[in-house]
Point group: none
Chain length 221, copies 2
DNA sequence: TTTGTATGATGAATATTTTAGTAGTAGAAG
DNA sequence: CTTCTACTACTAAAATATTCATCATACAAA
């Protein structure tokens, strides 16, 4: 199930959106001031966020910028009365994915939400790569339909690498993003865990999809 | 270096878009009827496409649907006078990524194009020169679609030289930028690595794009 | 205890640099 | 025009350095 964060202070729209979106089957969280919005956005994982611009506490624009700075790439749609071209551009430059002016058609909003979800859908729910299936919700990994138990860190590492499919992840990237260590990149942990994953999933060092890029890091093909 | 396909029949808008986008540094192809548009869209690879809805031959909506059916996932922005909510939804459902109603602001269009390009950019960082393709994300090099393994330093050197395409890189430049050595420019390393690259990529000393400039350094044509 | 996570040591594989011999080039002198 | 000389580049192979996989083990949390 897809979950949506709505940050909106006007009680009328607030209620209308929550009800309308829930009827469509989305799980909706609502925040009615900027700080609460940012806190929810950073603390929990959403599939998409709808932001008003003018909010008590902190503006939607500011929330958007801060999220992008922290590399939280959840799609953001602005939903605002600020309707000039200049403001639209500013909102999009801040990192938003779409910008809808009030008053808006709920049907169009729904469709624009779906457009954004099309892009992320692939990377939520579950990922399949070769004979490996990864269920991101259940935190389960299957190899040829047989469940393979990965530990927490092994799972996180695998997901991180697969999410960056096609990009080389440097050791620094990995240690920062997966272990959240921002100094001393020089432990052998990564090697050990990669090794563990390869062993459990029976991935060949040479031919498997999880490749070593010597001197740099690792890459999922 | 992004290229855009514009499918639009009205000569005025047609010209205006081509010129405006080219001024922004995009490579623009224009088609003025539906069939030609589809042919270009399927035959060549674009980073983004702008489609009018009403077109002679085949509608933009139809083009969009056909492309999605063939799993061509290039971002599509509709740019059309069809301005009802119902039509907007129909356009987005057909697989478009954004829908802009005429008359539109060129500045806003530019920004919305950038939004779409943000998504693809990551996977598009590659350089092609003759029959050699260099994927900067995956750190991979292909010659005639076959992967050639270069070591870290070989890769760095090649990228450095290619990034300075057309400019002669002196030995000093190279040793400073690629090796980060700021004294003792007189080792034979560069020669050795150039030699290695030429060998692996099968570049002829005389005719290949990686040329020796005697007494100075090297040059990529 | 059991399970998950991190560290350190080892050796093998691979990358980088140095060295040295060969070959090619340009300018000067015969 | 040829030959000599000094210089520069090319190449292979040897020497050195780095990186990774693996194992054993230690520590921490459940």
């Amino acid at each position: 199930m897809m979950n949506i964060l709505v940050v909106e202070d006007e009680p009328g729209i607030h209620k209308f959106l929550k009800q309308g979106l829930e009827e469509e089957g989305y799980a909706v969280d609502v925040a009615d001031d900027g700080h609460q919005g940012l806190a929810l956005a950073t603390g929990k994982s959403y599939h998409i966020m709808l932001l008003d611009w003018m909010l008590p506490g902190m503006s939607g624009l500011e929330i958007c910028k801060q999220l992008r700075e922290r590399h939280i790439d959840t799609p953001i749609i602005f939903l605002t009365a600020k309707d000039t071209i200049q403001e639209t551009i500013e909102g999009l430059q801040a990192g938003a994915n779409d910008y809808i002016k009030k008053p808006f058609s709920f049907e169009e909003l729904l469709e624009r939400i779906r457009v954004q979800l099309r892009n992320v859908k692939v990377s939520t729910e579950s990922i399949i790569i070769e004979n490996i299936k990864i269920d991101l919700n259940a935190h389960q990994v299957f190899k040829d339909e047989v469940e393979i138990h990965l530990t927490q860190k092994e799972f996180e590492l695998l997901v991180f690498l697969i999410r960056n499919q096609g990009k080389v992840c440097t050791r620094k990237d990995i240690i920062e993003q997966v272990w959240d260590i921002h100094f001393d990149y020089d432990t052998g942990v990564i090697d050990v865990f990669v090794n563990g994953i390869r062993k459990k999933l029976d991935l060949d060092k040479e031919t498997g999809f999880l490749q070593t890029i010597r001197g740099i890091g690792y890459l999922v093909r």
